[in-house]
Symmetry: C2
Subunit: 325 residues, 2 copies
């Protein structure tokens, strides 16, 4: 490529169950264009790719054409970096194994690389965000689900098959709450995701029907993590108890993660992390209590500094700079 690196772009794509967001990113991590298309309206992956191409094309043309595009990086649920595939993603309509990196690479005529969405966010955080300069950290996304990306020795942990870092599915409460998506009992995601929190809210309301709560002003189907947050901010006791309960389970899980890889920090990311200290306080307390003394008061629990979509777009784009050196 004859064009100097300072004038090149990577396309970063973050595929979620609902939206697919993308950006043109230069090598310093500046995102010069933001765009999005709906993921879930495309039953067929080829239609999705065609729409994505149409949506990105103007941005490419505005910025100098295909000659300045160094490559495409993609973050996707159940993404496998070794094979460039999405495999059996429960939240996507495309079933089985989808060779998405190949399909996108061919459509755009540009080299494409794909990884797990939470791993992409961890790379974004390490390259441009709160984890800059860290060699050992864990990124936890607390959204509809609970995702994770683990960095140790300055490298992302992929595992032998590319699927490492499914911390949301570790079992924290044996024989605990059923996760309807996986059939597991007591996994972290069943409690610490936004879905888990709304489930906890309904359980708390049902368990103690005489107890007043602002949440009773909402219809059952309206009660989501947002409602719990709003009620907690107004001082509602039951809503505050829900954060206490969630934080205790999350903290126990974090203690185990710390005793696994001894990270310098755990970085939170995703909608649920907006709860801030409300969630972090009980989480930190339970984590510290369950750690061996040698690990205590060492691990930082922090929030991502990047805008939510940006971490994954930046991380996905970082795959491009990393590989086409």
């Amino acid at each position: 490529m004859d064009i100097p690196i300072s004038q090149q772009y990577a396309i970063g794509i973050d595929i979620g169950g609902t939206n697919t967001k993308f950006g043109l990113v230069n090598h310093r991590g500046d995102i010069s264009y933001h765009g999005a298309i709906l993921t879930h309206k495309h039953e067929d992956v080829n239609d999705f790719i065609n729409d994505l191409y149409e949506a990105i094309l103007p941005a490419i043309e505005d910025n100098g054409g295909f000659s300045v595009i160094r490559g495409i990086g993609i973050g996707a649920p159940n993404g496998n970096i070794y094979k460039g595939t999405i495999e059996y993603a429960p939240n996507l309509k495309w079933k089985g194994i989808i060779p998405l990196a190949d399909l996108i690479g061919k459509k755009f005529g540009v080299k494409a690389r794909l990884t797990n969405d939470a791993n992409a966010a961890a790379v974004g955080e390490m390259t441009y965000g709160s984890a800059k300069g860290m060699k050992d950290f864990i990124m936890i996304t607390l959204g509809t689900g609970v995702g994770s990306g683990i960095v140790a020795n300055g490298q992302l942990i992929y595992g032998h098959d590319g699927f490492a870092g499914e911390l949301g599915h570790t079992i924290i409460i044996p024989d605990g709450r059923l996760h309807p998506g996986t059939g597991a009992h007591g996994s972290l995601e069943a409690y610490a995701s936004a879905t888990g929190v709304s489930r906890t809210a309904l359980e708390f309301l049902d368990k103690d029907p005489g107890k007043p709560s602002l949440m009773r002003n909402y219809a059952r189907e309206e009660i989501d993590a947002r409602v719990v947050y709003d009620c907690a901010m107004e001082g509602d006791k039951m809503a505050l108890d829900i954060y206490e309960y969630t934080g205790k389970i999350l903290g126990l899980a974090l203690a185990n993660f710390v005793m696994f890889s001894s990270p310098e920090a755990i970085i939170f990311f995703g909608g649920m992390s907006k709860a801030g200290e409300l969630l972090l306080k009980p989480t930190r307390e339970t984590m510290e209590k369950n750690l061996l003394p040698i690990f205590r008061n060492k691990v930082k629990l922090i929030f991502s500094e990047l805008k939510e979509a940006d971490a994954a777009i930046l991380g996905a784009s970082a795959l491009v700079w990393e590989t086409s050196k």
Copy 2:
């Protein structure tokens, strides 16, 4: 060093609570000399080092003198590779932080390096044993305690402070059995160590006093993991149930470890692993049941091929070849 590498030796030292074993190891992993001294009889670490020096000196002299010694590698409980220290090891008499690598290096006049004992065993296994060629595996030592060494991307995971891989202390049963050494409730080590198994045996005997068991032929203080094993081998139902119970907890723990780092294999090591399929069958079943489908039927559960003391001696010696290149 002018002496060709084929004629050089590393001294590998494995420090345990009771014994300290050592060997002279060449770069192909042949141990040409085995020796041991008692660890626990030395209240003072300097006395220990003096005795160790006296014990190793003849081996050095027999093999060509100090000029052929490339370095010393040490595996020790709570060993910290970054600092060469042993820090707050509950099973050793030397309290606080002991700068053992420095002390030994000075006494011998040779460069010394120290790491955690389970990490040393993992390196031994990777360099010379069952994990040869593997880039992602977990080594679990099932002995008096439960130790672990984690390898990902072909590297040992040390964490930001050198203490990563304390999987024996992860909490598997929240509010479960008290670990008398750490004060934690429900940690893996409280169940899956030899100590844990004898504790389970006493609980089972007490819970069901009318139920016959060969274990009742032993005095309470005689009942250890060995007795449980012998009784199980004779078909004793209660002893078999103890393995079932232990395997279920170990299997649940392993499922969580797999969803963390997605290893190709988990390698067992230490006295308890002699139980073989007796322990492995319930362990494997519970692990598989608790894994996300993408991880199922992929992870090998295997036993170390190395003799118990050898893995740690070899692993410790490997530190020498690794660093003085």
